[in-house]
């Protein structure tokens, strides 16, 4: 295996990891506040179609990221209103959001079938981005670098700021936070909106980073893998980054199996490689969830309705 091959693989893995890294970071913050939003897949699809439409109409991938974040945050508000203001069941509402997002993206995306868009140009000069080794660092879409910044920002926010402390407190014991005088509902609305925006950017990464062509349901379950990723991470941003790259690697195996031909496909048919990320997710969840450290880290109020006595 040559060094060029490894660099090529690395670049593909980075691309595959970026959407779930964004979506996972958003869901991590949402879950830290005690909310379990299973609508990530739907929000990603909304973000993806919003991004695609924006580039198709305006040609600006930067604007597309903003619109995708805003659109997904907007649909995440249906989840927030239902679960926070009308105390609906979080699991059911999250599912509804996924069904809604899927339908909406398909409906809106219908008119883009066959369209191609121009994604980001690289940030760095060509001699760096096209360099044999340089491309392993400098050839990526700006969204990739942005995802690293977001990992650091989320870590800093959760562990070093008062806002992060309040967010964790709300997820840990909503009734206590309420009795001290913090707005549990307000904090959770904000956390859901952030999760929505990040899922939207994660969705936008599909047309902007991966394939600049519209395809129905292009996220292919990555939203669910992002939720699994949060469990995998033990609700820690650093581990989430590592997990995203691990799942990204699994997700690209199918491509390499197809490309490299017989050796891989003799081991496992290409559908088997395609199914591998999902099987691996279950296996990883089993290892993480059955170990003591894994299950205990979940925010204590995760998924539970907030019912103050007043």
């Amino acid at each position: 295996m040559s060094i060029d091959y490894i660099i090529a693989v690395f670049i593909t893995v980075v691309g595959a990891a970026t959407p779930i890294l964004f979506a996972g970071l958003g869901e991590l913050v949402t879950e830290k506040s005690g909310m379990l939003n299973l609508g990530v897949e739907g929000m990603m699809l909304v973000g993806a179609v919003a991004a695609f439409a924006t580039v198709d109409l305006t040609g600006s991938p930067w604007l597309a990221v903003v619109v995708a974040a805003a659109a997904a945050a907007a649909v995440s508000m249906t989840f927030a209103v239902l679960t926070l203001s009308l105390s609906a069941n979080q699991v059911a509402t999250g599912l509804a959001l996924t069904i809604f997002g899927t339908g909406l993206s398909t409906l809106v995306g219908k008119s883009f079938t066959g369209h191609g868009i121009k994604p980001f140009t690289t940030l760095f000069p060509d001699w760096l981005a096209n360099d044999r080794f340089g491309k392993a660092f400098f050839s990526f879409s700006p969204l990739v670098y942005f995802s690293f910044i977001m990992v650091a920002l989320v870590w800093w926010f959760l562990n070093r700021t008062r806002g992060g402390l309040i967010l964790r407190a709300v997820g840990e014991n909503d009734l206590s936070a309420h009795s001290i005088g913090y707005s549990v509902i307000g904090v959770r609305y904000a956390a859901v909106a952030f999760g929505g925006a990040m899922a939207g950017i994660g969705g936008a990464a599909f047309p902007l980073v991966l394939t600049p062509l519209w395809a129905e349901g292009l996220t292919g379950g990555r939203g669910w893998i992002a939720i699994a990723l949060v469990v995998f991470s033990g609700w820690k941003p650093g581990r989430l980054l590592a997990g995203a790259y691990f799942f990204g690697l699994l997700g690209t195996l199918e491509l390499y199996a197809k490309a490299s031909g017989s050796i891989f496909t003799a081991m496992l048919p290409s559908e088997g490689w395609a199914a591998l990320p999902y099987i691996a997710t279950i296996v990883v969840l089993a290892i993480i969830s059955s170990s003591k450290a894994g299950g205990g880290n979940a925010p204590a109020c995760l998924g539970k309705p907030f019912i103050p006595s007043t």
């Binding site: 402390l165 840990e172 206590s176 009795s179 001290i180 005088g181 204590a300 007043t310």
Partner: protein, 516 residues
């Protein structure tokens, strides 16, 4: 006295909830530096009243006057700004966060970490409260947790400190330590509103007592002048009834034997049980005292069969090993249980009372036959429980969640007792129950024992155990002390046992107050 206005003055405070008048035109004053007791049974409206002073709830009518000026306390932040601090009964702490983080969350402004650490250290030395700020709350004892709350409140330099039932989870020795802190605070001019239903504490600590009953103010009096009995009667609005224990009781054979029972702690924060042994005879009421969080929850689960043990011999009924049986199988052997938590553990709040009878009575009372429920039989049995235990409910089809705490507890106790269990294990039988219901429950337990059942009562209320039980042991850190006869028990020794390794030198004050 007339020059300085009262620190806090309530004028005609009224608060209504759907179906209940929680506070009805309540007015009283708290003077600067006064330790003022707010006394009343559970459900008398004490908690609602202080929640309005602290801004968690808003009164429907009436005024709050602070140092002579009318104020609206819109939220806890506003209360703290005025100088009101509060220590909650059910601590408002965050288990997974550190002591320092918990205290920081209680501050309204962002204070740099260094400065806050310094101030914490200063408050701790000033009042003799020791804590390690870097420890995670879930590792701390209940007494230490309360200290966090107190430090958190004191850091804001309150001029009125509200303490909501602060001693219900403390050992007698910890109570005395707390009183020292409170007296020091009062001497420095801080007013204290002390909520409790423990009369001997109020006599030992407070300058004034305001008594609430059914949401109304009954009396404001001097607890040093009143007797415990006179205050109790004002509190319950009638004369106290003593438990009728038949004279010259003798116990039968050994009925329920626990031998070297061990159990890993349940969940993340659970206490493990170690080497627990005791025996209960037919007709005996066996009490297990202890401060909350010392393994009581695990013990009830182990005894009821909700968490079966691996050693069948660890638990025996009538010499039959039942340690490996689950709750359903143990019920068929005659072991019934009542856990501490009524809603969601002993009963399903969303279910009707009839369905709740099916939950634990389906086999012994034949409420289901070959997998099919008999609704009529369930209704009939539930009706019998309701009338025998005078449960106030709209009928057998009322949901358990719609009953008041006391009535639900009477129903649950009745549901188990009327199945005539050979052994009954019950935790906190009168927690949050009014005095009338508590007396009825105590009497029912005594009657069940008289009929030949063996009864185990796990309770944090030492007074209850001393008046109800024949034999007593103390649980601490998952281990149980040897059993002692209640008639020969020494309260000091019990207190030390309850404190376990946290136990500190005792003082005679509590004893003296108790005797009064």
């Amino acid at each position: 006295m007339t020059d300085t206005p009262p620190r806090l003055s309530l004028r005609g405070i009224t608060k209504r909830f759907p179906g209940v008048l929680a506070n009805d035109n309540v007015s009283f004053d708290v003077k600067p530096g006064e330790i003022h007791a707010l006394l009343g049974e559970n459900g008398a409206g004490k908690s609602t009243l202080v929640k309005m002073i602290y801004g968690i709830m808003q009164p429907d009518a009436g005024e709050i006057i602070w140092n002579g000026e009318k104020v609206i306390v819109g939220n806890p932040k506003a209360a703290r700004k005025l100088g009101v601090g509060m220590v909650f009964q059910h601590f408002s702490l965050f288990e997974a966060l550190t002591v320092f983080e918990n205290i920081a969350l209680g501050m309204d402004a962002k204070i740099p970490q260094r400065e806050l650490e310094g101030r914490i250290k200063q408050v701790m030395t000033q009042y003799g409260l020791t804590l390690d700020p870097q420890r995670v709350v879930s590792d701390l004892s209940v007494g230490e947790r309360q200290r966090i709350e107190i430090v958190r409140a004191l850091l804001l330099d309150p001029t009125l400190l509200i303490m909501d039932e602060p001693t219900s989870v403390l050992t007698p020795q910890e109570v005395e330590q707390l009183f020292v802190v409170l007296r020091k605070l009062a001497k420095e001019g801080c007013s204290i509103l002390y909520i409790s239903h423990k009369l001997h504490e109020i006599k030992a600590l407070c300058d004034t007592a305001t008594i609430l009953r059914g949401g109304r103010l009954v009396d404001t009096c001097d607890p040093k002048v009143e007797t415990s009995r006179s205050m109790a009667e004002k509190m319950i609005g009638g004369s106290l009834k003593d438990i009728q224990k038949p004279e010259g009781r003798t116990f039968g054979r050994e009925k329920f034997v626990v031998t070297e029972l061990g159990m890993p702690g349940a969940g993340h924060f659970g206490v493990a049980l170690k080497d627990i042994s005791f025996r209960v005879h037919a007709g005996e009421i066996f009490g297990i005292a202890g401060v909350a969080g010392n393994g009581q929850t695990a013990l009830l689960l182990a005894l009821s069969g909700e968490a079966p043990t691996t050693d069948a011999q660890a638990i025996r009924i009538d010499n039959e090993a039942i340690g490996k049986l689950d709750a359903k199988a143990r019920r068929l052997k005659g072991l019934a249980s009542v856990p501490e938590e009524r809603n969601g553990h002993a009963a399903v709040p969303d279910f009707t009372l009839s369905d709740n009878s099916v939950l634990t009575g389906r086999d012994r009372m034949k409420l289901s036959i070959s997998g099919i429920i008999r609704p009529r039989a369930a209704k009939k049995y539930t009706g019998e429980v309701i009338s025998a235990f005078s449960v106030k409910a709209t009928g057998t089809e009322a949901t358990a969640g719609s009953l008041s705490g006391g009535n639900l507890q009477k129903y649950i106790m009745g549901r188990e007792i009327m199945q005539k269990p050979g052994v009954l294990v019950v935790s906190q039988p009168t927690w949050g129950v009014d005095a009338g219901a508590a007396a009825a429950i105590h009497q029912a337990l005594v009657d069940l024992a008289a009929a030949g059942s063996a009864i185990v009562v796990i309770s944090q209320d030492l007074d209850e155990l001393l008046s109800l039980c024949d034999t007593l042991a103390v649980i601490n850190g998952g281990r149980m002390s040897p059993a002692m006869k209640v008639s020969e028990a020494d309260i000091n020794e019990i207190g030390l046992l309850m404190g376990g390794i946290h136990g500190e030198p005792t003082s005679p004050a509590v004893e003296a107050a108790d005797a009064a």
